[in-house]
């Protein structure tokens, strides 16, 4: 049952090559002659461009979300993602009110609101007695209340559903590019602050004694979380964007003890559930965003039961592993 990461890694290169060389193919061919597995797993993506775009978006999102989720989890900040999602929502909503479904306005609004909340919460936590979770709760609630007030003052009842639930099936070039650029930034910055982040996760006291990089690294990390959530809300909506970050991290926790393996497993399972969720949405006809998160939920339950590290069944029958 260690299939999670293996399957993800195995499928990936195959899919990516298909992805590139199938673009020029005539798309209306009826595929009766091919094997059913191909029809089920690959054909949706070769036949429809929107599926390829959705897949590319989900993959890029998973690449950034995997490591961020692992660090959030290790720092006991799993719910911070949720709070930050609420914090960026009003910014995105204000951008939406001012200029409609404009990528730039909604992204800028979300980023600004998220940055302000993250920075204020970080500063208050470091300068006063208030702990970071309490400071964050205060500021995200204020941000949310402010957003709802502004929307209601504006008076029109615009359709906020599309801000709350982005659509992975409607990613245009711009949005796709934004998600890819964000994932790139996240991976590069994470590589730069990786060492202080890991040390601070494991031993914050030691970190403080040897270096002053802990504070800046922490703030940079929060900024990355905001960047990733803003990407995520274009693809999945603000609420589900947190799911693609936290669920793969929780899955990774059941398969690895060290941080780097955990990140690999988390990212691989993010990629896998993005692909499998889209297939589920395609074949079963369920909404695509929730389908991705529910697939991640299923994988989480499997990991919870069969995971190598602390899985429930391993705890019940621990014998063989203690010998090794």
């Amino acid at each position: 049952m260690r299939g999670a990461e293996d399957r993800g890694v195995e499928h990936d290169p195959k899919k990516l090559t298909d992805f590139s060389d199938q673009i020029m193919r005539p798309t209306n061919t009826c595929c009766t002659a091919r094997v059913p597995m191909y029809d089920f797993l690959i054909a949706p993506f070769t036949e429809f461009e929107f599926m390829r775009r959705a897949l590319a978006g989900a993959l890029a999102l998973a690449l950034g979300a995997g490591p961020l989720g692992v660090f959030l989890m290790l720092r006991r900040m799993s719910l911070v993602g949720d709070a930050m999602a609420h914090a960026i929502l009003p910014g995105a909503a204000i951008g939406f009110l001012l200029s409609g479904l404009s990528l730039f306005a909604m992204t800028a609004g979300g980023l600004i609101a998220g940055f302000v909340v993250a920075l204020l919460a970080g500063l208050v936590a470091r300068a006063t007695e208030l702990k970071e979770d309490a400071a964050l709760a205060t500021f995200y609630l204020l941000s949310l209340a402010l957003g709802v007030t502004i929307v209601s003052l504006k008076g029109t009842n615009i359709d906020l559903l599309h801000v709350l639930f982005g659509n992975v099936l409607a990613l245009d070039d711009q949005t796709l590019l934004l998600i890819a650029v964000n994932a790139t930034i996240i991976l590069i910055v994470l590589a730069l602050i990786y060492r202080p982040l890991v040390i601070e996760c494991v031993d914050p006291g030691f970190m403080r004694s040897v270096s002053r990089a802990g504070g800046p690294a922490h703030l940079a990390f929060l900024v990355l979380v905001v960047v990733n959530l803003v990407s995520g809300f274009h693809a999945l909506g603000t609420l589900l964007a947190v799911g693609i970050m936290m669920l793969p991290a929780a899955i990774g926790r059941f398969w690895a003890r060290d941080v780097s393996t955990m990140i690999v497993v988390a990212t691989a399972s993010g990629v896998l559930v993005g692909y499998a969720g889209l297939l589920l949405s395609f074949h079963a006809g369920v909404a695509s965003g929730p389908a991705i998160i529910l697939t991640a939920g299923a994988l989480y339950v499997v990991s919870l039961l069969f995971g190598r590290v602390g899985g429930l069944l391993r705890q019940l029958f621990p014998g063989r592993h203690l010998e090794a």
Partner: protein
């Protein structure tokens, strides 16, 4: 001193009271959304004061009434609604406001059509967008006229005259639509919109409409639905894909880009536009949509 103060008070009272009395004589009515409000204004003229709950550009499918709306409903004599399940939020609002107003369902007398038949999850629901056929609009107007006369018998002649004038305009509009559609080759009368609101228009004038979403904007789209629409556009060689002022335009753009179908302009379905837009009245709305259809389907 006293006399001067009295004079001021009396003058102020007169100033305030004069317009107040004039307003009180007008019949206070509520229309659930802007298109219905336009009908009511045309029939009621100066004798009624109309308030639209869902204003221009609003989406009546997901409307959330405010306390001010509840107060307006409580004060109203008549509440005009579309019915056919269009205003899902209305029952709660009426109950909460404790109003004694008569609820007038403007679609009584209209034969409802089934909700979009292409999607299996829409069975059993009727399509509420009956006003998209001008023939139905005439039934709305007749219902509004009768309800206004019943509530305000003194204005009978005015309401009848207003309604007759407006019905004549609607007749002319109906002829206009038929003439324009007749000019489009039958095999090109195939349209996709992002919101399945034009079924009545399609039935009345012989244009084929399909939507990537169900009959209500509340449902989220699945990959299967989008794939089905794209396959359909390719197979049936559908000419045009339209955006619309209330649902997600990104999805329609994506479908158009993938199939090479032409993107038409904005169609107006559930709401009039505000003064800046080009569909400030029902007649303008139908004319605007007609122009868009003709442009995309003949071009």
């Amino acid at each position: 001193m006293l006399t001067r103060r009295h004079a001021i008070v009396a003058a102020t009272a007169l100033l305030v009271a004069a317009p107040l009395r004039a307003q009180e004589r007008r019949l206070k009515v509520i229309a659930s959304f802007s298109i219905l409000g336009d009908f009511v204004r045309n029939v009621g003229g100066d004798r009624v004061e109309v308030r639209d709950l869902v204003g221009p550009n609003g989406n009546a499918h997901v409307f959330e009434p405010s306390p001010a709306d509840a107060k307006a409903v409580a004060d109203a004599k008549l509440v005009f609604v579309n019915g056919l399940g269009f205003e899902g939020w209305l029952d709660r609002l009426v109950k909460a406001s404790g109003t004694r107003a008569t609820i007038v369902v403007a679609t009584n007398g209209i034969t409802p059509r089934e909700g979009a038949g292409d999607h299996d999850h829409d069975h059993g629901k009727v399509d509420p967008h009956a006003w998209q056929s001008v023939a139905n609009a005439k039934i709305y107007v007749a219902a509004i006229r009768d309800a206004l006369i019943a509530a305000d018998p003194a204005g009978k002649t005015v309401y009848e005259a207003n309604a007759a004038t407006y019905l004549a305009k609607l007749d002319a509009l109906d002829q206009e639509v038929r003439a324009v559609v007749a000019g489009i080759p039958p095999e090109r009368r195939r349209v996709i919109t992002s919101h399945n609101a034009f079924g009545y228009f399609g039935d009345a004038y012989g244009v084929d409409f399909t939507a990537p979403q169900g009959v209500s904007t509340e449902a989220e789209t699945s990959a299967r639905d989008v794939a089905a629409i794209i396959t359909q556009i390719r197979k049936q060689k559908i000419a045009a894909v339209f955006l619309e002022n209330v649902t997600d335009p990104r999805l329609v753009k994506q479908i158009a880009a993938e199939t090479g179908a032409k993107i038409g302009g904005t169609l107006y379905s559930d709401a009039l536009t505000d003064a800046k837009g080009d569909a400030t009245s029902y007649i303008d709305l139908i004319r605007h949509n007609l122009k868009e259809f003709a442009g995309a389907l003949t071009g």
